[in-house]
Amino acid sequence: MMVLLAGLATIASPSFAHHGATAFNMTEPVELKGAVVTEFVWINPHPLIKADYTDEQGNVQHWTMEMGSTVSVQLLGWTRTTVQPGDVVTLYVWQAKTGKPVGRFNKVDLADGTTMRDSQTGADDGGRADTGLRQ
């Protein structure tokens, strides 16, 4: 019952962000399958994941994506070593409307099968992923 209520809270809770999502296309995340992490920058206001993604034409795209603040994503189990340079992962990102390879991080599928999400936009619909942890 408690779990059900937590799920229902996903609908009811407002989404207050540190920095908003105005710059990003929140309709469909871009999937970067087989991306190679080049740097994980553990800073506030937002940690940055940097990764190289090779597209179907063989072109390498250098991506940068932001996630919730260090204190927010720690509540979801993130640490400064959750992803590391050289990790081959699948990243999902809400790309900037400018069309540049930057965006708001959604989630990552790690090589061991674990999925880690963002706090503010980590749900599959772009909503908060930490809402289930809320009262």
């Binding site: 059900l4 540190h18 920095h19 908003g20 937002h46 204190v71 189990g77 749900a123 009262q135």
Partner: protein, 275 residues
């Protein structure tokens, strides 16, 4: 559908966190969630302790947001029009919010109505401190009976310089309500995240009301006749007691903000920005 997604997500998170050994140095979401209900009566004349706020991740809901739009004077509107707040249609790259762009302090009263994460209240002889996790802020509230300063921001040897958190005095209105009055806050800071201004002469009144062991509410009003035609309701924020009493650091580091803007926010919000 969304509810089901939330259920699945919550289950996965709970499972993931359940495997890690518990550390007394961490603040876990369940610290706040486990504190369901009032937890007993409020202690008499005591707000001391560490509290989770709206943006803590602990699920605490704000009760009332600051009044918007507030009743601006002509000068107030002139100052407000200079401020381009981030929000609907305005990206991080486009705002001139001095905190977002330069890591400048929020200042009071914004630091009590924006980014309400966690707060610790500590009481000593003649003073109470309100400390805020977001940006590692402390506010000093004198309870020794002194009056607020006059001639703040004026000229002459008796003048008092405005400060980011202003000058504050506090008193118990009853056994569960602590009233704080503040003036002399730096006028270059914004009163709200939406960019409403305040002057150095603004007088802000906060009523901290503890209704139970676990629940504390702060209701704020602002009187600033230079910029507003009447008293402004600055909202009502709710805090919940954190069982572990852990209080994280959340600094603003200018070099980190600069890197975030250069490599992420400006390319995301400005098609002409270099990347």
């Amino acid at each position: 559908m969304v509810g089901v997604a939330g259920v699945l997500l919550f289950s996965a998170l709970a499972a993931a966190q359940g495997n890690a050994p518990r550390s007394p140095w961490k603040y876990y979401p369940e610290d706040a969630r486990a504190n369901e209900g009032p937890g007993g009566p409020a202690p008499v004349r005591d707000l001391s302790g560490t509290w989770a706020g709206e943006s803590s991740g602990a699920g605490v809901q704000r009760l009332v947001r600051p009044e918007s739009p507030p009743p601006l004077t002509a000068l107030g509107k002139q100052l407000f029009d200079l401020n381009v707040a981030e929000g609907t249609g305005v990206t991080v790259a486009e705002t001139n919010d001095p905190h977002v762009r330069y890591c400048d302090p929020f200042g009071f009263p914004r630091n009590m109505n924006d980014q309400i994460r966690s707060m610790t209240i500590a009481t000593g002889p003649g003073r109470t401190f309100v400390m805020l996790k977001f940006m590692n802020i402390w506010r000093e509230i004198w309870t020794d009976g002194r009056a607020l300063p006059t001639n703040v921001g004026g000229r002459g040897p008796d003048a008092h310089d405005p400060t980011y958190n202003g000058y504050s005095v506090g008193r118990w209105e009853d056994d569960y309500t602590f009233v704080v009055e503040t003036t002399g806050t730096a006028p270059e800071t914004w009163a709200t995240e939406t960019g409403y201004p305040h002057s150095a002469e603004a007088r802000v009144t906060e009523r901290f009301h503890r209704t139970s062991k676990n629940d504390l509410t702060a209701t704020t009003t602002m009187d600033d006749p230079k910029l507003y035609t009447r008293q402004v309701a600055m909202g009502e924020v709710h805090f919940r007691w954190i069982p572990s009493q852990t209080f994280f650091d959340f600094s603003c580091v200018p070099s980190s903000v600069q890197r975030y803007l250069d490599e992420m926010a400006d390319p995301a919000g400005d098609p002409n920005a270099a990347q």
